[in-house]
Amino acid sequence: MSSSLPLITLVVGAALGWLAAGLLGVMIPRRGAARGLFLLGALGGLAIAVLGLMAVWQPAEQLTLPLGLPDLPFHLRLDPLAGFFLMLLGGVSAGISVYAAGYFREETGGRLALICLQYHVFLASMAFVILADDAYLFMVAWETMALSSYFLVITDHKLPANRSAGFLYLLIAHLGAISILLCFGVMNGGHGDYTFEALRAARLTPQWSSVAFLLAFFGFGAKAGMIPLHAWLPEAHPAAPSPVSALMSGVMLKTAIYGMVRVIYDLIGGVRWEWGMGVLAIGAGTTLFGVLYALMQHDLKRLLAYHSVENIGIILLGLGMSMVFIGSGHGAAGALGLIAALYHTLNHAVFKGLLFLGAGSILHSTGQRNLNHMGGLIHGMPQTAFYFLVGALAISALPPLNGFVSEWLTFQTALQAPILQNDSVRSLLPLFAATLALAGALTAMCFVKVYGIAFLGRPREARHAAHAAAAGGDAGGWERCGMAWLAAGCCILGLFPVTLLLTLNRVSVSITRAGLSDAALQSNWLWLVPTAPAQASYSPIIFLVVIFSVTLLTFFLVRRFYHGRIRHADPWDCGFPEQTPRMQDSADAFGQPIRHVFGPVYLMQRHLPGPDDAAPRYSLKIEDRHWRWLYLPVARLAEFASSKIALLQQGRISIYLMYSFLTLIALLVFVR
């Protein structure tokens, strides 16, 4: 593998290639050019994915670019962790870029040029976030990422909702960045410079390292969308064009996870189990919150956004468990947790990317994001329906697809609890696993709702069906290619987990110096064994083969022994002859049992029609409690402070002169 060029140079070259593609896009504002550039971008993504995968198996490489601050040129480093995330970035973005090449077919040339620029700058900045090896470059790339994605979010800036979504997004991102900056400052502690090497070497007292941990956790958490800093996420993701939503949800949130792992495990080091408990608590809250609110949504992209919140929670659960184990001195179990978290990171990137792309295709052909107006799309767009089904099954953590593997690994981590010494921690871990189980089942429910309502059944609104027919049915060729790529990713990651497990094990070793047990590493490609074969194993291939062959067998047996006559008829009307498509379950109706069971979680405003209403109307509004608890109070506090400070300036010149006078006197007194 020792080519003449180091891998890192190639990666940087590919990332710069993205930048160049973006700039070219602005220079040639034509639709055809933009399509070509998106495809080029996809190639770049593939290249980066391959290089990243190779980098996992190589020693770390470094590179210094003569840019940046006078004492702190841009340091770049490509180690296994960075390699893994580059693979994620490249692999997922490749599919999304291909999709994007087809998706933006209705944009005007000028706007498309801008989108092309912002999109590729976004990609490149994410690559540099992952490659950065000093605080300055990291912050620059981090904020560039926020900025470029912000502009993408407000592509449709004429809608006020999109603008406020963009504002909220960039604001929270910026506050998170401030927290991260402060974290770097704390870590530095006044020694040395701001290269990651120096930060890694700095030794902190336990108090300060806990402060640094908290700052990093909340700083990155703001970007990842964990509660209570998630508020931007369900607003921003629906606002963005679908490929961008896919990229943000699929990849950008993952850079936050990367940041957490990098800073907490690698730079701060000395992970403590108390941190892990904190992460677990927030993670469990995020998981449940995300899925419960997702169930209440009828806007498809908003629903998916809430699922991103949920999945970030699942990743945090894995990370938290890993911190608990590492902090208690159980390296192997800790490595398993980290691997589970990273595995889920990759999985989520793939299936959430796929689902957002699917949502984009639906939006394109029906012009709808509201589930309550959809129905029966499987007939008009069978291919999209198939890919979406793959994504839905994957996110519902159903075997043998990829979502199941990572949740399975997380469960296995939780099941390592008996090795812990601390009784309360030991009994809490399985409870967090139960949260995960609950969330998994709720996710399944949610995606039954999504799929059942959007794709199955009959069209709920005739005019939307007409729109779909006019739009030419299924997604275009490039779009389907993009979705197929990600759907294939779901299957491959689900079916061949061992390869990735070994890759991740190497990442874990390079970061925490702890890896899986030998028994786990000796397993062959067929059997996924996290600890020891007697404890647990899983073989998705066998699973798939068995289920497939059994199903086929049944099918052929039935075919063989059965006449195969089929009659078609209307569905049974239950004796009620005037059934219309509008009598099908709506998205809101589907969530009704959940509202009933988890009522206190939601802030509901409901209007029920009375028995004698002339025009019966049902309306339901669900608000996020965090707004009342956190965001509005903070906003009010700032408003209050500024109203008090405004009293300083009441327009009277005498008062102004008095300020000067008093300042002078005060300083003179101070001097004396």
Binding site: G375, P418, A434, G457, Y562, D570, P593
Partner: protein, 316 residues
């Protein structure tokens, strides 16, 4: 010998479960009829029903998609897979490492998701209603089920059913208070998952109460037959999981031909008792209102958690 014998055992068990499952359903129905002072149908009635259904013409709604056609096969396949994994007759079967208890729960979830999707496919209001209720019960039952299984997993230090059964069956007799809680929880989950009273009534088609029947309302003929059969296998699998976890004695090892008759006999006895118990429960209790189901299942969940905590406390 062992490899071929083990595979033979595997095939034998799989076929056995598929064949014997309707029998269990018939037995439960028979017991219930006795308990309710009705004249009991034949224990073989489920087989007759299946045969009858297989001979009918299938009626399918105009707007049903391919998913609707496929679902019965997928359901049947999932259940067959489950039947192959659970140590019914023997432990150490070659397929069992392919899926542990968590994956087993995953298989049931997969089946549930597909049946719910199929229910929504025709676009009738009943289908949606059934799917919604089914998923409600499912999301409540699944964590409880997992917690139950986790308790067993913690006791045996493994999530492989084979290992669990081996550990529990071959240890010296010791009372695990944790396991008792878990058993109670498991029983409640079993009732919920298999559409039994007090959560659902398999014998009703009353729209206010039905859950599972609402979902399969549009199915007929061979599709319905497959679904019914799959349901029977599911009940069978659940019963055998319970037996494996809580009453594992008498099970054979893979390839151990001499122990097989005993294992079959033991299994039949246990199943007969279990089926009678199930019928008893269904007779003694009334169906709960749908919105009491969450309470029922959350108590199951709490019991399972209690079992796990008890295990942690008593172990030290």
């Amino acid at each position: 010998m062992s490899q071929q014998a083990a595979i033979a055992f595997q095939i034998l068990q799989s076929v056995f479960v598929v064949i014997a499952a309707p029998l269990l359903t018939g037995w439960v129905n028979q017991c219930r009829a006795w308990l309710q002072n009705r004249s009991a149908p034949s224990i073989l009635l489920p087989y007759y029903t299946l045969a009858k259904l297989f001979h009918k013409d299938a009626v399918i709604a105009h707007n049903a998609s391919r998913l609707f056609h496929l679902t019965p096969y997928i359901l049947f396949g999932c259940m067959w897979l489950a039947a192959g994994i659970v140590p019914v007759l023997a432990t150490g079967l070659p397929f069992t490492p392919a899926a542990d208890i968590i994956a087993l729960v995953g298989v049931f979830a997969l089946a549930r998701v597909f049946s719910a999707l199929a229910a929504m496919d025709t676009g009738t209001s009943f289908g949606g209603l059934g799917a919604r209720r089914e998923m409600l019960i499912g999301f409540l039952a699944e964590p409880a089920m997992l917690m139950t299984l986790f308790t067993a997993a913690f006791i045996s230090g493994s999530t492989q059913l084979t290992t669990i059964v081996d550990t529990l069956a071959h240890r010296e007799f010791a009372i695990h208070p944790g396991l008792a809680f878990a058993a109670a929880a498991f029983l409640m989950v079993l009732l919920a998952e298999n559409a039994r009273i007090p959560i659902d009534n398999p014998a009703t088609h009353l729209e206010l109460t039905m859950v599972h029947e609402a979902m399969i309302l549009e199915y007929s003929a061979r599709h319905l037959a497959l679904i019914e059969w799959a349901m029977a296998i599911k009940l069978f699998a659940y019963m055998t999981i319970g037996i494996a976890l809580f009453l594992p004695w008498g099970i054979a090892g893979a390839g151990d031909w001499p122990a097989l008759p005993l294992a079959i006999a033991a299994l039949l006895v246990k199943l007969a008792a279990g089926g009678a118990g199930l019928a008893l429960i269904e007779t003694l209790f009334a169906k709960l209102r749908l919105f009491l189901a969450p309470e029922f299942l959350s108590s199951a969940f709490l019991l399972a958690v209690l079992g796990m905590l008890t295990h942690f406390l008593t172990r030290a």
